[in-house]
Symmetry: C2
Subunit: 332 residues, 2 copies
DNA sequence: TTGTAAGCGTTATCAT
DNA sequence: ATGATAACGCTTACAA
């Protein structure tokens, strides 16, 4: 079960390796129809497939990019991964998917191995713990794009939602229907990641723009396993009439809580969630969501990464913001 | 921005390339503490990282496997991909994810490029259109595992649900509660893929074991975009009291239909779905689902693939079946 | 139009 | 203990 190489093809076809190489790279200009045919036949009979590893070594390009996702539990992550695959494939790139699980050490390890594997670029949902590494890569002009999150001190192109607007859309909708006592809740991790921070901030600003109070109790950021408990407290203390949840993961916790306590939506509590979920439209009541244009986001990220790879020293706008869309439904 | 190579490290440390290579591969037996330290320093000051492409060329192993998923829209696919990443990473493997979209030509193309990229093995949700290719790979002892689906004529290890039992669990549950007129519905594509066929067959057998009639109208396999229409017909003609849906994608169509028509669950129609969905437990009513142990399935697939890679000629059991679990809830 | 030979960055064999 | 040297399979000047 020996591997067929270009040399085997060459001798089978009675030509030299270089001629076969020409053939493989479609340089037919100076090739006689005869040798061309001979090579083609040889390839067929031997069932030859070029070794891309060898080619990559020579050409310094692997046509492979790394994707490091931070938090696979959000539907946004998987949606983006799927779209990235589609778009990268269009440009002939493969994608190695890694999961940092929001741990900077894992992220660093993945990045280093990916670079050792000579990927042509990476797309990262970055943690906040590897700024030095990202900075080094940036200075080396290594193609890298951030998605979903950004790091303010780094001029690395970042593709993400207009998170503040997302919160504002929700607050606007709530306020227009007469809600005043609105709470915000997000799942927290130990680092200040962009979507959470911006959605919280956007919520606060929008509320203040309406002159509505946002006490400490209105702004909730707790680990996912404490959300149920925090919701209990929230309903006892702040007694909100509306809740904005920061993402689909939190929405699930909230709906679960509401179901369990027999709380009525929207009469007893109004709900709006950031991130569209598959059941939103046929839930009872249908859940109002703020949807991210994940196809556009993934397309943009893939496109600028590929451009960066193909022409190293162009410069790029730093932040690409995409607009959220309100799916107005009867949950508030 | 030149790349640092092993030669650079060698001259920086005043030793030969081979010694550096020894160091890199942890062969310290015959190395003096002094040179060891010199090399370590050189690596640090130069910020050297070995080129894994070059290493792969030499060693004929890329520590990378390909994963070809057929239908990314099913939650099962993404769940499995996530788990595969976790398990493969434990063994030091990276994963290149591709999407065949149930198109044999795309599948073939992906497999061929992956092999050209010298992946050490592949995990496939196979279409039915590349049996010759799979057979060839099998004969070459190329490590390959099927997941979710199998191809009867090929002795390739396949890891999948006991689909017939899944249907049987649902029928048993229905029958026990007094349902008799039960319909089955699945999304169809042009090929006879395993889960659909087996779930349909399992449904039929289970029904027959109870002496219940399964007319043509009870067995529905239609493309996803025609499901709503077929449901209309179903409710007019067969007028089932219970429906078993073959997967989460179809469940969403069904719930959407039911909502739109104002049909009551479970009083007017009982529902059981194969595949657990995130909203099942807090839906109104909670949806009874048959859950696949996707962690176990992914673990098994990753484990035997890695074993196959590491010891080429062991032989494996052909089919690994995993047991479905009924999440009994009030939708029927 | 085709062939020779060097080189990509490693590892492996064999000297020393 | 360390170093020379030849692979690995391909591309690419350059020569013929």
């Amino acid at each position: 079960m020996k591997k067929i190489t270009i040399s085997d093809v060459a001798s089978e076809a009675n030509v030299s390796k270089s001629t076969v190489s020409q053939y493989l790279n479609n340089r037919f200009e100076y090739m006689s129809e005869e040798t061309r045919q001979k090579i083609q036949d040889a390839i067929e009979t031997l069932n030859y497939r070029p070794n891309i590893v060898a080619r990559s070594l020579k050409q310094k390009s692997t046509k492979t990019v790394g994707v490091i996702v931070a938090n696979i539990v959000h539907s946004f992550s998987t949606q983006v991964i799927n779209e990235l695959e589609i778009n990268l494939h269009k440009h002939g790139f493969h994608m190695i998917v890694c999961n940092s699980n929001d741990q900077p050490e894992k992220e660093r390890e993945h990045i280093e191995v990916l670079i050792s594997k000579q990927v042509d670029g990476i797309i990262v949902f970055p943690t906040t713990g590897n700024i030095d590494l990202f900075e080094k890569l940036y200075k080396q002009h290594f193609p890298i794009i951030f998605i979903d999150r950004k790091i303010d001190s780094l001029p690395i192109p970042s593709v993400l939602l207009d998170n503040k607007l997302a919160s504002k859309l929700a607050v606007d909708a709530f306020v227009e229907k007469g809600y005043r006592n609105i709470a915000f809740i997000t799942n927290a991790i130990d680092q200040p990641i962009t979507p959470r921070v911006e959605r919280l901030q956007g919520f606060k600003e929008a509320m203040e723009s309406y002159g509505l109070s946002v006490s400490k109790g209105h702004l909730n950021a707790v680990p996912v396993n404490q959300i149920q408990q925090r919701l209990s407290e929230l309903f006892n203390e702040v007694q909100p009439d509306g809740i904005l949840v920061a993402n689909d993961r939190v929405l699930i916790e909230l709906l679960s809580f509401v179901k369990q306590k027999g709380i009525k939506i929207p009469s007893e509590i109004g709900i709006i969630g950031i991130d569209e979920v598959p059941f939103a439209s046929f839930f009872d009541p249908p859940i109002c969501t703020i949807e991210q244009p994940f196809e556009q986001i993934a397309l943009q990220a893939a496109t600028i990464l590929v451009e960066k790879i193909q022409s190293q020293n162009k410069t790029y706008q730093e932040i690409y913001r995409f607009l959220p869309k309100l799916n107005d439904r009867d949950s508030y």
